[in-house]
Symmetry: C2
Subunit: 380 residues, 2 copies
C-alpha cells in the first residue's frame, strides 16, 4: 500500500495501449472502465460484487461527497476507502462538472465558483485549491484539477475563455496538490483538456497541459450530446499531443461502442453512469447488444441474459424472472441488472486488454461490433 503512482505500458496495437497504473491502493489494468460510485456507493451493488466483476478502480464524486457526508467527516472516518469499504484504487473528479450541472451557480470568477447545494440550498465556494483539499481529505488516489465545464453549444470565444481559465486553474491545482503532499503520498493528479468541439482550442489545451507535470491527462467536455464522430475527431487531435508515457482518461464515456473506438485512439481510462443507471431502468448491456427487460418478449423466457457470462446475475437468473422483477419495480431487478451491466463492461475491458496484448485489436473491434449488430437471441 506504499506504492507511488506510476504507469507502465506493456503492449500497444496501433494506437491502443495495454498498461498498468499503480497507485497506493493497488494496480489498475488499462484500458480500464471505472464504475461510478457517486455518493460512496456504486448504486445498488455491494462493493464485493463490484470487485468480483473485475473493477480495479471506482470513481467518487467530489461535489456530492463534499455536501454529504462532508469531506472533513469522511477524513475523520478514515477516508473514502475505509468509509465505503472499497480498499482498491479510487479516482475522484474535481466537482466542477456537478457544480455547473446540478448546483445553482452564484458566481464564477478567476478565483473559483460560489454555488448553492442542490440538497439544502446551503452556500459553498469551490476553488482549484479547495477541490484538491477535498480530494486529499477523501484520500483519493487519482485526483482531477478543477476545470470550467461549459454547457454546449457555446461560442468559440466562450470556449476559449473557459479553456484558458481551466489552464490557469490547472497550474493552481498542481501547486496545491504538491503543497498537500500528494506526490509523497503516491497519489496522482490529472490535468483536464478542454476546448469544446473546437479542434484548434483542443490542441492548445492539450499542448499547454502536456508541458505541465501531471501524472495523467483527462479529456473533459465530451460525451455531452455531440455526435460520436465529433468526439472521435477531438480524440484524434488531442491524444497525439499528450505525453505518450502518461495515462489518458476520457471523462464520462460512454457506450460500449464509444469505448472500443476511443481505445483505438489511445485512451486508457473511462467512467460512465450508463451501466449502473441503465440497470435501474430495466436495460441490460450484453455481448448481444442492449436488451430491454421490460419488453414482453422476455415474460416466458427461461434463458438467462447470457449463459456464458461469469457474472451470476447474467448467467443464473431467467429473463422471465428479471422481466417480472423489473415490471414489479422490485429492488432485486435493479440489483441484478446493475451487477450484470458492470460485469459486462468489465468483461468488455478484459477482452480489449487481451486483444491489444495479442495484437488483434482491430479484429476484436470488428467481431464485437458484429455481435452487437446481430442482436439478441431469437425468441424460443
Amino acid at each position: 500500500m506504499t506504492e507511488r503512482f506510476s504507469f507502465q505500458i506493456h503492449a500497444t496495437d496501433g494506437k491502443a495501449r495495454r498498461g498498468t497504473i499503480t497507485t497506493p491502493h493497488g494496480k489498475v489494468r488499462t484500458p480500464a472502465f471505472m464504475p461510478v460510485g457517486t455518493q460512496g456507493t456504486v448504486k445498488a451493488m455491494f462493493m464485493d460484487d463490484v470487485r468480483s466483476t473485475g473493477a480495479d478502480v471506482i470513481l467518487g464524486n467530489t461535489y456530492h461527497l463534499m455536501l454529504r457526508p462532508g469531506a472533513e467527516r469522511v477524513a475523520r472516518l478514515g477516508g473514502l476507502h475505509a468509509f465505503s469499504r472499497w480498499p482498491h484504487t479510487i479516482l475522484t473528479d474535481s466537482g466542477g462538472f456537478q457544480v455547473m450541472s446540478l448546483a445553482q451557480i452564484r458566481k464564477l470568477t478567476e478565483k473559483g465558483v460560489t454555488f448553492q447545494s442542490h440538497i439544502d440550498g446551503s452556500r459553498h465556494e469551490m476553488t482549484p485549491e479547495r477541490s484538491i483539499e477535498i480530494q486529499g481529505l477523501l484520500g483519493s488516489d487519482i485526483q482531477m484539477q478543477l476545470d470550467e465545464c461549459l454547457r454546449l453549444p457555446a461560442t468559440a470565444k466562450e470556449i476559449d475563455r473557459a479553456m484558458r481559465l481551466s489552464l490557469r486553474w490547472a497550474a493552481r491545482s498542481r501547486e496545491k496538490f504538491v503543497a498537500m503532499g500528494g506526490p509523497e503520498k503516491g497519489q496522482g493528479l490529472y490535468g483536464i483538456v478542454q476546448g469544446g468541439d473546437d479542434a484548434a482550442l483542443r490542441a492548445v489545451s492539450a499542448a499547454e497541459l502536456a508541458s505541465m507535470p501531471f501524472e495523467g491527462y483527462s479529456i473533459g467536455g465530451l460525451a455531452v450530446g455531440e455526435p460520436q464522430d465529433v468526439m472521435l475527431q477531438m480524440l484524434d487531435i488531442v491524444c497525439p499531443l499528450l505525453p505518450a508515457e502518461k495515462p489518458r482518461y476520457l471523462m464520462g464515456v460512454g457506450t460500449p461502442d464509444d469505448i472500443i473506438k476511443s481505445v483505438a485512439r489511445g485512451v486508457d481510462q473511462f467512467d460512465c453512469v450508463m451501466p449502473t443507471r441503465a440497470g435501474r431502468h430495466g436495460l441490460a448491456f450484453t455481448r448481444f447488444g442492449k436488451i430491454n427487460l421490460k419488453n414482453a418478449r422476455h415474460a416466458d423466457d427461461p434463458r438467462p441474459l447470457d449463459e456464458e457470462s461469469s457474472c451470476p446475475a447474467a448467467r443464473d437468473y431467467s429473463r422471465a424472472y428479471l422481466h417480472h422483477l423489473v415490471r414489479s419495480g422490485e429492488a432485486l431487478g435493479a440489483m441484478l441488472l446493475t451487477w450484470a451491466n458492470v460485469a459486462y463492461y468489465q468483461s468488455l475491458m478484459q477482452g480489449i486488454r487481451d486483444a491489444i496484448e495479442e495484437g488483434r485489436y482491430a479484429d476484436f473491434m470488428a467481431e464485437t461490433s458484429e455481435a452487437w449488430a446481430r442482436g439478441d437471441l431469437q425468441p424460443l
Copy 2:
C-alpha cells in the same frame, strides 16, 4: 426432495416447542421466522443472503403472484422455487388477506370473492378451490386455506359469520388439496383459526378445525392493530385447542417481543414484513433494540450496528456509512439494513430454539427483553 410433510417435536419448555417441519424442499427448524417474499423476492435481498441468515423457509403471496407474473406462467417456468431461485421450503398464503386489503372487492358470496386487481383493474375470482389450485401451480410446500379476513372492529355477529364461512371454506380447501394430489406430493395444508378478538368464537373455530385433517394450523386475523395482550389472550385460548402434534403458525406476527411471547404460548411459525420493511426505512432491529439510522447521532459513529453479529451488514459497515446511505436515499442502505434485520430475526429464532432445547426459555426471554430495554450503545 421426496420427503413428505411431517412435524417432529424435539423438546418443550413450558408451552414452548422446539421442532422440525420436513417438506419436499427441506427441513424447517421451529420456532421459525419466515421472511416475506411477496412477489417472488425478499425485497432488496439476494436469496443466497436470505439463506445465509439462517432462514429455512420464506413466504410467497398468492394474491401478488397470481396477478403478476401469473400462477400458470410460474408453473410453466418450473414453479416458484425455480423461478425465484429459492430451493428451500416455501409457504404461501391463500391470497384472502390481500384480496380484502389491497383489491377492490366486488362481491363476497358463499362461493368466493370477485375482485379487481390493484395493478390494472382486471377482474378475478378467488374461491377456496382456485386458491389451492394457484398454490399448487406455484409448487408451494405449505399451503393455506382461503379464509375471510374481516377488518376490525366488527360486530360479534359479523365475526361469527366470517368465521363460520371460513370453516366451510376450510373443508372445501381440504377437498381440493387432496384432489390436487397435495398429500402425495408431500405438501401440507393448514387450516386458519379466525374469530377476531372474541374468545368464544376463537374457541369454536379452533375446535372445529382441529377435527379436520390439516397438516398444521394457522392463527389468522391477529396483529391487525389490537393491543398485544388481546393477541396473547387469543393464543392462550386457541393453542391448547389445537392438536399438540401439529405446527402452529401465527400469521403476520410480528415484533421481536410479539414473537418471544407467542413462542411461550406454543406458536411454532411466524412471518412479518417488519424486518424487511423497516430496513427500507432506515430502521434496524438489533439485540440493543430498534435503532433509527436516520438519527444524526450516528453521523460520525465508526462502530458497526453490532460487532458481535455474524451478519456482514450488521458487523462490517459503520453506522456513519449506514446513516449516510439512508440519508442519501441510496439503495445500498436498504440492502444492508434489510439484510441486517432479517439476520437479527433469524439469530433471535436461533436463540429461542437453543433456549427451549436447554430448558431455559424463561431466562432467555427475560435476558433478551432486558437487553432491548437497556437500549443502544452509548454515544462515543
